[in-house]
Symmetry: C2
Subunit: 423 residues, 2 copies
């Protein structure tokens, strides 16, 4: 009998004291069996599982890692502020400095309201739009993820139908669908919430057209409603500004999180001058929303975003990766689809409805030291280099070869079938 | 013309880039005019405002500060873990160790689900109770604070009436009121949520009777519903265990936060064996819910709670303070009411409906270097000592004297009148 791995031991312990053994987006329940659940250490673009295996991590903690895990300058700023003040009876001036830096940097932003979760920011935006208009109906893109509050969590368990009242769905990038939803809302339209690009799990990623973004802006202008973009995942990964600012459709509210302090707990709702009254009318707060240490870290992040070619770096790395993977997949004759911005890629195989090929290929990549995801978009960070890309291409070459040799023998993907059949 | 203070300058800057100049529970909008908005530094039981004034801080960051600001051992554990791993693509074993420590320590706890805000934990508890029962109705105590999600935020702005559907209110500590609410819920009763003790802002604090707590437990047992206690504010401040465990009414779910990592961002939903299925059914998560550094800090906090006389310390300090303040108030012939546990006191003046005396007295205390709150409960921490109490009594002596001299001339409290007239 093989010795039990450390990961298996930790899973057993977790099974006893954590719901389902692990919960939320970090559960491996819907990942290949070979994927480890527990990690011991991280540095730069690498993670080490509890079995001692080292990986290049294309998940970047599902987004927060933009400048590399454990970036010294960012963490030093955190630690220095922690030694002065963090969670107090009142805010520190660091909060004002960070709000000023965000307002100076993001085109549509005139104010900032800090919180902890991305969900805190999206929920506050919906509340503020309702408070500002005195109306209730929110239009949202079908399938878009905005967090796990009862109004938005992607599973229905534990929610009531009233939690989703006053919501009308439209199809991302579909102006006619958006217009129909707005017409259905009638005089009760409070706002429109959308991710700036389509980043649905399991699906081909889709960039917005400027026409679509502007149509959303125009509806809000004409109806005196509020436009909300959910930048929690996209923020600073594809632009130094708001993505819809770039498209000529500046939102009234935008929700940000994840990369904001490079992994330290911080999110923020930004808003335009016209959106301020709504934000001032609602009561939202949290025990740690004013903590100064993550804000000190975010000031460093924001300076890097302003002053360094970080964006050009991740775009160059992402482009090299996309090109290299395309070439090697083509050489193997494998239908390999790469969608989304190069800095936030999602990879799928052609003719792979239950992702059995994707699961097999990811497992082969994992064996070769590359942590990729079979159905969620990934992320590029600035700690990656041409060497990272080269190592990934070598691993992909091997993994494509293994897939080609085994594909006809692959059995159905039982892990995903239950979920996909429900969707 | 007097030179502008640093606090005034920061307020002006904040007014431009923060909704309302400041938001949430740390806004000074409903505090005396002399109260500073911004703080530069904290250490032990003290805070320093941006004008350079030093205060003994009885607010303890509204709860998180239990072992003193900047506790070296706790913060060192945080920093050490930050150097290894914090927010990653998967959880660290630290999560399992902390879940095990909580399960071993809290009587009713069989599992732990970590999150960031107290609101995250209370909201997940309500969702899990609904998921477990397939029913919707939640009973809640009138006026109790459970966070700022649309289902519970104390102001209505930005919420819809559907956000509060399936909720029935009862009066805290009133068994007949609770029974009536349960009867009204009928077969749709999913659960009961309550703070373990009555800690409403503005009101005299009230300890629960064991009969009341047991009545809530009995209703849930008889109706196959779930009992939820919101320990976010009370946790570890009045007991080493759950407060209703002590009363013989162990809950199915309990929500904790604030002190859990002594100011680092962490909250947790704990639950009984029977509550596990509900927690496993719902989908809740957050970008930073699995971050390891706050959990490493919480392991130190929990060891202190188990192994040191911290509770006896804060109870001794709290008792000395209550006795000393009572004596000096009585000497001044002032009706001064101290309610709540000695470790979580709330102070009010007799015949002071608009709190004009409370505001004046708190301002006088502030001038004397003691930061107290005129309408919210305060907290005792272990960094306080007999010297802290003695200094507070000296300040109170002066402040009571000033109040007695000025009370007949005090004008109405305009700051609070608008709020209180709405309530």
């Amino acid at each position: 009998m093989a010795a039990k791995t450390a990961d298996a031991t930790w899973r057993e312990r977790a099974q006893r004291v954590v719901p389902g053994g692990m919960y939320g987006h970090l559960s491996t329940r819907l990942l290949p069996d070979s994927y480890p659940q527990f990690f011991e250490r991280s540095s730069g673009t690498r993670i080490w599982d509890v079995n001692g295996n080292e990986y290049v991590d294309y998940m970047c903690a599902f987004g927060p890692n933009l400048f590399g895990y454990g970036d010294a300058e960012i963490d030093d700023a955190y630690i220095a502020q922690l030694g002065i003040a963090d969670t107090m009876t009142g805010p520190s001036p660091v909060l004002v400095k960070l709000a000023e830096a965000l307002v100076a940097h993001i085109s549509h932003a005139e104010w900032a309201l800090f919180c902890k979760n991305g969900t805190d920011a999206t929920t506050a935006a919906v509340m503020a739009a309702r408070a500002a208009t005195g109306r209730s109906t929110i239009l949202r893109a079908r399938g878009s993820y905005h967090g796990t509050s009862p109004w938005c969590t992607p599973l229905q368990a534990g929610t009531t139908k009233e939690d989703r009242s006053h919501q009308i769905y439209f199809d991302f990038n579909d102006i006619a669908s958006l217009a129909a939803a707005a017409a259905e809302a009638g005089p009760d339209l409070a706002g429109i919430i959308a991710t700036p690009l389509n980043q649905h799990a399991f699906l081909t990623q889709q960039l917005p057209t400027a026409e679509y973004a502007k149509a959303a802006r125009k509806i809000c202008d004409e109806r005196d409603a509020y436009l909300i973009t959910d930048e929690v995942r996209t923020g600073f990964r594809c632009s130094r500004d708001g993505l819809w600012d770039d498209l000529g459709a500046p939102p009234d509210f935008s929700a940000w999180g994840k990369v904001l302090a490079n992994g330290h707990s911080l999110s923020v709702l930004l808003g335009s001058a016209r959106a301020r009254a709504g934000a001032e009318a609602i009561f939202v707060t949290g025990s740690f929303w004013f903590s100064a240490a993550p804000m000190a870290a975010a000031l460093v992040v924001l300076r890097r975003i302003r002053e360094t070619p970080y964006l050009e770096t991740i775009e160059r790395i992402g482009t090299q990766l996309r090109t290299g993977l395309g070439e090697v997949a083509s050489r193997h004759g494998v239908g390999f689809e790469q969608s989304g911005p190069v800095t936030m890629p999602l990879w799928k195989f052609a003719d792979d409805p239950d992702l059995r090929a994707g699961f097999f290929w990811c497992s082969e990549m994992l064996r070769r030291g590359i942590y990729t995801h079979p159905w969620h978009n990934m992320f590029i960070n600035t700690a990656m280099s041409e060497q990272t890309v080269a190592a990934t291409i070598v691993a992909a070459d091997g993994a494509f070869g293994a897939l080609t040799a085994s594909r006809s023998q692959l059995g159905p993907n039982l892990k995903l079938s239950a979920l996909l059949s429900r969707a």
